[in-house]
């Protein structure tokens, strides 16, 4: 048992008073009625000569009441064994979360944050365990609780300081919510140690765009307390430029959204392209800079100035605000894919009965590609363009011998093509194209119409339709189709088949290349394919699949995971040139982590990086990171974060340690409130004393009558 105010125990000495009074109390033998007391003065009491305490029970009750009152005022409390053990051995546990997001690059925020951590470390006692985590989009550990414990207590701080010196703020965004939750998980990980004082200390600039919202409703463990240490900048104006995706096929201009923070002092900004050839690294080309007016807390979308013609990666720069960390916007303009489609076949039909009729509207040119369709008529001996530049060959008629030979060569050398079976005779040419033994191909007997019975949604072309909203193929009707014996074609893969189980679409590898076979045409007399709503996406899917080109997200942010498979490199390993010029490789089946802003260049091999086909990706700061207004801690409190105002940094000297101990004792005492029970007991004793004394008094007055003469 311990006491919060032990000095009150001295009041227990007052127990001497009842004992003294019991000793001195004289008992007059009776009462003497007298006419008037005006001439009488009370005689002083005298210690009874018998020197014997009278009425032990009353004395004990009175003494107990006095002692209990003194005890209650001393505010006793019990230290449980666990707490005692904690005080002796385990110490406290702290997890320090240090913000390394891009916004910490402002002014000297990073130095301030490191100083705060240093101050925290000064308040750490040898028995305490500390873990330091850094967080941006992701949370990573600098030193874990276990590592801290395993280090010599004398070397812990210096070790940690060395580690902290190596750290720098990154270009990533901030995910405060996830970081705090994972840090809390760390604190409560060790089971059976619930009584320990666990504290989460967050050192950050607590910006608005720090994704703290997921803390709402998080069930905080009872014994975890949170201290928030905010580092602040002096200059609050921060404007940012963010790239907006350009979807136009004709307009090549760049649009950017310029946003301004609500605490800004400036409203007028300027955007211009960075002069890559200037001696000064981020000097903008002032001659065509665009000026933009953005009031605080608002944003404006503006056209960037006309870009220079050279195809080097470009940087847009915003000037006029006080914080520069988010002023550069990287723009990687991708050269459009020039898809050249060769259609073979001289069609007798025109209009909807012709295959070629639908090809042009099916393959439109967009911002990312230009499509040209060439028609190789049977009358011509040579193909209208060089084989190397052709992306796709579509066979829609019976091939001449010369065309057949060319096609064989084309596929063998890795060409891609689509074979449309228009008639049974023309379809039988497929076998000679594939150079396998010819099999009879017949016209299917379709009474009314036939529908697709099964579709392979695992195929890259059909995968986008693998959704209940788009997977309905029942509106597609076929009036005529050819029956091709799949079993005769080695390695043939059926992508879609009719109700009678005969294949509708096949994929066949030919040499290095691939051939997709349609057993029915998209001309109106064969099927409803051309007027089917999914025909255009399906055909474009085939174009990109066979042409080895995929659309990809033109805007990437630091912290994103890049799916390398989408670029369809021929090899398993992709080569990536980072913004700082470093060359990295990545498995195409794995995600590549974008951890710096700038231009990434991707290609299959290191040599190909210099090619025109190399892919350039602009990676910018996440837009949320530019929202640098500090959040109110009241919001965090309202979200249920157990914020503690008592800072660990104040525990610097022994005096403060004592204060802390006293504070803990006070909390313990206020939880137990033993004094209430003791006071209740004292009142009980006093009541008993009153009743007992009253009874005694009555008995005495009855037994000793007044001596009235």
């Amino acid at each position: 048992m311990a006491f919060l105010t032990p000095l009150y125990l001295l009041a227990g000495l007052a127990v001497g008073l009842p004992i003294f009074f019991h000793l001195i109390r004289q008992t007059p033998k009776g009462r003497q009625v007298f006419s008037s007391l005006m001439f009488l003065e009370p005689s002083p009491p005298k210690v009874t000569q018998r020197s014997r305490v009278e009425d032990w029970l009353l004395l004990i009750l009175r003494a107990l009441a006095v002692c209990l009152l003194a005890l209650a005022f001393a505010r006793p409390f019990m230290r449980s064994q666990a707490e005692a053990a904690f005080e002796k051995d385990d110490g406290r546990r702290f997890v320090i979360l240090l913000d390394t997001s891009a916004s910490m690059q402002r002014e000297n925020l990073w130095e301030m944050a490191r100083d705060e951590v240093d101050q925290i470390l000064e308040g750490i006692e040898p028995a305490d365990a500390v873990s330091v985590l850094i967080f941006n989009e992701k949370t990573s550990s600098v030193i874990s609780l276990a590592e801290w414990s395993s280090l010599e207590s004398s070397s812990r701080e210096s070790f940690l300081r060395e580690k902290l010196k190596e750290l720098r703020p990154t270009d990533s965004g901030t995910n405060l919510g996830a970081a705090m939750i994972s840090a809390t998980d760390l604190l409560v990980e060790q089971e059976g140690r619930q009584n320990l004082e666990s504290k989460l200390i967050v050192v950050s600039d607590f910006q608005t765009g720090s994704q703290w919202e997921q803390l709402n409703g998080f069930p905080w463990p009872e014994n975890v307390q949170v201290e928030l240490i905010s580092v602040k900048v002096n200059e609050t104006t921060n404007a940012a430029a963010q790239l907006i995706v350009n979807q136009s096929a004709t307009d090549n201009s760049v649009r950017v959204r310029v946003s301004n923070t609500s605490l800004s002092e400036q409203e007028q900004f300027e955007i211009g392209w960075v002069d890559e050839f200037s001696a000064e690294e981020t000097q903008i080309q002032t001659e065509n800079a665009v000026s933009v007016y953005v009031p605080p807390g608002q944003s404006r979308v503006v056209h960037a100035p006309t870009p220079p013609q050279e195809r080097t990666p470009q940087r847009l720069k915003l000037t006029g605000d006080q914080q520069t960390f988010d002023n550069i916007c990287y723009v990687a303009r991708r050269s459009p894919w020039e898809a050249k489609v060769l259609f073979i076949g001289e069609e007798a039909e025109t209009g909807p009965e012709s295959l070629l009729f639908f090809l042009e509207p099916v393959f439109p040119s967009t911002a990312t590609r230009t499509v040209e369709i060439f028609d190789w008529r049977t009358s011509e001996n040579e193909p209208p363009l060089e084989g190397a530049t052709i992306s796709l060959v579509i066979v829609g008629e019976e091939l001449t011998e010369q065309q057949l030979v060319w096609c064989r060569e084309w596929f063998k050398s890795g060409g891609q093509g689509v074979f449309v079976a228009r008639t049974a005779e023309q379809a039988s040419q497929l076998y000679s194209l594939l150079e396998i033994a010819p099999q009879p191909v017949r016209e299917a007997d379709v009474p009314d119409y036939e529908m697709l019975a099964s579709v392979d949604f695992t195929h890259p072309v059909f995968a986008p339709f693998d959704d209940p909203r788009f997977a309905d193929f029942s509106k597609l009707r076929f009036w005529k189709h050819r029956v091709i014996d799949v079993d005769a074609i080695p390695e043939a893969k059926v992508l879609a088949s009719f109700e009678g189980n005969s294949p509708a679409i096949l994929e066949v590898p030919v040499g290095k290349g691939r051939l997709v076979v349609f057993s029915s045409g998209w001309n109106r007399s064969d099927s409803d394919l051309a007027v089917w709503s999914k025909f255009v996406p399906m055909m474009n899917g085939f174009l990109e699949y066979l042409g080895k080109q995929r659309e990809f997200d033109p805007v990437n942010y630091v912290g994103d995971e890049l799916d390398l498979a989408q670029f369809q490199f021929e090899s398993e390993i992709a080569t990536i040139r980072m913004p700082d010029g470093e060359i990295a490789t990545g498995n195409v089946n794995e995600k590549f982590h974008l951890n710096a802003k700038g231009i990434y260049t991707l290609a299959a091999t290191e040599e190909a990086l210099a090619n025109e086909n190399a892919i350039h990706l602009a990676v910018n700061l996440p837009p949320a990171e530019s929202k640098t207004d500090p959040i109110s801690f009241d919001l965090l409190k309202a979200a249920g974060v157990p914020i503690q105002t008592q800072s660990i940094r104040n525990i610097e000297d022994a005096q403060n340690v004592g204060d802390q101990r006293q504070l803990m004792n006070r909390e313990l005492e206020s939880q137990q409130k033993l004094w209430k029970w003791i006071l209740l007991l004292a009142i009980f004793f006093l009541l008993s004393e009153t009743i007992l004394a009253g009874l005694r008094q009555r008995r005495t007055s009855r037994s000793v009558p007044a001596t009235e003469s």
Binding site: P28, G30, Q32, F39
Partner: protein, 312 residues
Amino acid sequence: MAASTTGQTLAYPPASYIDPQSLMQIQSLELRAKSVVEGFFTGQHRSPYHGFSVEFTEYRQYSPGDDLRYLDWKLFARSDRYYIKRFEDETNLRCHLIIDNSRSMSFGSLGYTKEDYAKTLAATLAYFLTSQRDAVGLLRFSEHVDEFIPARYRVGQLRRVLVSLEHATDGVSSGIVSALEEAAERVRKRGMFVVVSDFLTDIEELHSRLGYLRSGGNEVVVFQVLDPAEINFEFEEAALFYDSETGREVYVDPKHARENYKKKLNEHLKNVAAMCDSLGIHIALLSTDTPLENALFDFLQTRSKVKQTQRR
């Protein structure tokens, strides 16, 4: 008409007077009074009023408005001046007995209380005065006036006074000050007041109220009745002393307190005596073991002194 005993000097009463303790054994108050008064005569007092009797006192110059019946025509014939003749009015005495009936009077150490003694004294005086055909009244008080019987001489007056005295119940505190005030207000005619009390009260106020009575031209006689135990304080054992009037209890060890008590009491008695002297009031301190005849003797002596001073 009261027989005149003027000029006769009364010797101090002999020791053969009735012992108060024996006297108090007598139940009837009337009988007690009768026993004491036996042997005394009526008509020993002179009235303070100037009336019209046979005994001439003085001449006064006539002033317009005086009754011409009392003009001394013979003197006018002799001296050619108008004089009014004045005679001594030898009426009966109007005496009011003011008896303290408060709780402090109920103390007694001799088997009877101060109150018993005071009542007997009052009865004795009433009997004596009635037998002299003087008018007797009674004012009995405790914290305030309990009963007031105006002074009369008529059949049954003595009986009323005695019954009132006999049936007096104990009061609480002593309201002697207000009682004297009320007596002065209610008794308009000049007469005599006999105050019987222990006078254990504040002297200042007592002085002013007795002064009222005296200023009305009344003759005042005071009997201060005290118990021997009060005078000598001969208690032995330490005890809680209980003030019967205030209810206060004080632990007192008589051995230590006696000397101081006596000193304070004597001082008080001296002050009371001095106050009475200053007002021209005769005071007699009566211990309750003093024979009542002594009191009667004192009374008569006082009366005779008064007569001597009034007579020129």
